[in-house]
Symmetry: C2
Subunit: 381 residues, 2 copies
């Protein structure tokens, strides 16, 4: 049995040796800052969204339907109770999470998820619930938005949650994959961005409130599948990443009533390599602010405003699923001056979400059955 | 001798077979257009600048000091007589060529070149001469601009020639490689863009005409080595490519009196890999409109406005020396939405100049001892 014991010892040794490498990377050079990756925790099951609830604690969603509190010391809570049932097939499940602007006083959090149709278990759509966070429980759970109509699909749910400075809640949505034409029709929430008040009511100045046959929650249309959204730190406008077809991932500035062209205009190509549409321009529709061909599979986005990486201030960071990297768009105001590909080969998992912590570090969630919360910090920190 | 004969036949066969490949490429796919490359002529000696003088004929400079007429049928003239003496060491020599806006009536052409100091054969600087084109001769040659001061260097001469809609002549210059600090000083033409009238006189509304100690020709300063320039087709402003250090090639919109920051601010890094300056932003200096890290070694630029490539209309094309390609910046107005790398691996020579022909095709000059004039046309043309 000597051989087996040796094998066992070796494997234990390898496991031990691997631990520090997982926790802290070597120095990674980038154009302007040398960085290190510190893995706060792994073992998260396909995490999708996150939001800080204190200087040291993050709420993290796992797509299969769990919401957890994760401390920066690596402690991970049990799943919180009170989360609504989700349809976790394929791209569906528990998706984004956000805190109320007045969270410190009202304890409200918001979650987006694929909500099953109780009358037809093949159908679902994106919904948003508000709840109070009470320790490891959600209480007073209230559904404040349901994407209309429910539909038989397990793809393209959106959905990011972003508050405006005035307290509106933006919800980005998807075209349900096989309903792309509905993105151009105002009588559904398919392929739209919506804007509501946190109690679910409709702002009076939404662009289509007075338009016959249009759903009043609609803020913009002609969107394909928006899985990243953030407010520009200076203009306070909503910027969004739109996951395109094989090519044609876009960054858009999402303004009231605008048509972003999908599916009639796109820089994308079909998965068989053919051009999706000859139309990159569509009368009355917006051109992208920036786009990628081929697709990098854009996910969460973040503007950096912290003091830990001075040369990155004002820049837009875009999580990428396909090549498992982060794109940095060097912005001068709104203008893209340069794109840098960060962390390619260093993360090795799909980057689903990205946010700035209260500490000025950057945090990434990797969408993997053994997904991670990763802290990006200066190498000399 | 049978073997030798066979070898000879084979080599003749190979040479013959290679000819059509040189003349016409296979179809090359790009994101929006399939193209073919048609080599109008090879055998040009380090060609640097070109300008159409009719629908079917191009004036081409060769850096060692020759100016030739090249017909689109491949006919290449003998060197034209009357070209001034040039200092053709290293980067110096005969550089750009442009025709007068009223060329059809006045036959004026303009050439930029490294002009030797007659009193010191180690010194030179960029000069511009005007002349009448008379068959294969230049007559009435007149030097209308001399970069001040002459200096002992064989690098960084600029120099592109572009006319404004009002008939001013822009001349882009370089920092002479070892005089970079002078780019920030207004008492030399080093590291500047200048604007003059075609007879060499100074426009009264140039930005520094009333500034004590400043040279009145100066239009902008803080430029490193501008080897590409073109007017934006809508705004009519001057855009320029600035050849940066190892990183930090830039596209700038060159506006009156602006400081483009060199050498105090740059995204570049030194050739040993160290950061050139910590300052990417400099108070009072412009940020680049777009930049590359690492450098692609930008050269000539062109806005496409023709009808042969409808999806490229309004886009900026940038010749690249290092990777022997052309960068396409997809513009919406002035905004860069996307960059495409075109023709990488297809040209195999450094792309020094790029222009649109009267026929709507795109023409490239490759800077090589066996340089080419290449026509880019639709694959199905």
């Amino acid at each position: 049995m000597k051989t087996s014991l040796l094998a066992l010892s070796l494997s234990a040794l390898v496991a031990t040796a691997a631990m520090p490498a997982l926790a802290q990377s070597d120095t990674i050079e980038t154009e302007r800052h040398d960085v290190q990756l510190h893995t706060i925790t792994d073992g998260l099951e396909n995490p999708w969204g996150m939001t800080f609830i204190s200087n040291t604690e993050v709420l993290v969603t796992e797509r299969p339907g769990h919401l957890r509190r994760v401390s920066l010391d690596g402690t991970v809570s049990e799943p919180l109770s009170g989360v609504p049932a989700v349809d976790a097939r394929n791209q569906g499940g528990l998706l984004d999470v956000a805190v109320d602007p007045d969270f410190a006083n009202n304890s409200y959090i918001y979650i987006s998820y694929a909500e099953p149709n109780p009358d037809n278990d093949k159908e679902n759509s994106t919904a948003v619930a508000r709840a109070k966070l009470d320790g490891n429980a959600l209480t007073d759970v209230e559904v404040i938005f349901q994407q209309y109509p429910k539909y038989e699909s397990t793809g393209h749910f959106g959905s990011r949650l972003v508050f405006s400075p005035e307290g509106h809640l933006y919800i980005t949505l998807g075209d349900r994959q096989t309903r792309k034409d509905a993105s151009q029709e105002l009588d559904t929430h398919i392929g739209k961005t919506v804007r509501i008040w946190p109690d679910g009511s409709v702002p009076e100045d939404n662009p289509f409130v007075n338009k016959d046959g249009a759903l009043p929650e609609i803020w913009s249309y002609g969107n394909r599948n928006v899985q990243g959204a953030a407010l520009h730190p200076e203009t306070k406008e909503l910027w969004a990443s739109e996951h395109g077809p094989r090519g044609g991932d876009e960054i858009n500035i999402i303004r009231a009533g605008n048509n972003y062209g999908w599916p009639d205009a796109s820089y994308g190509i079909n998965y068989d390599g053919s051009i999706l549409t000859e139309h990159t321009h569509l009368e009355g529709a917006e051109q992208p602010h920036y786009y990628w061909v081929p697709s990098i599979a854009t996910a969460g986005i973040m503007f950096y405003t912290g003091d830990k990486f001075p040369e990155w201030q004002g820049d837009l960071f875009v999580g990428a699923l396909r090549d498992r990297h982060v794109a940095r768009l060097d912005l001068e105001g709104e203008r893209v001056m340069h794109e840098e590909t960060l962390l390619k080969g260093d993360i090795e998992q799909r980057v689903r979400a990205i946010t700035q912590g209260p500490d000025g570090y950057i945090y990434l969630l990797t969408d993997d059955p053994d997904g991670r919360l990763v802290q990006v910090k200066p190498a000399n920190d």
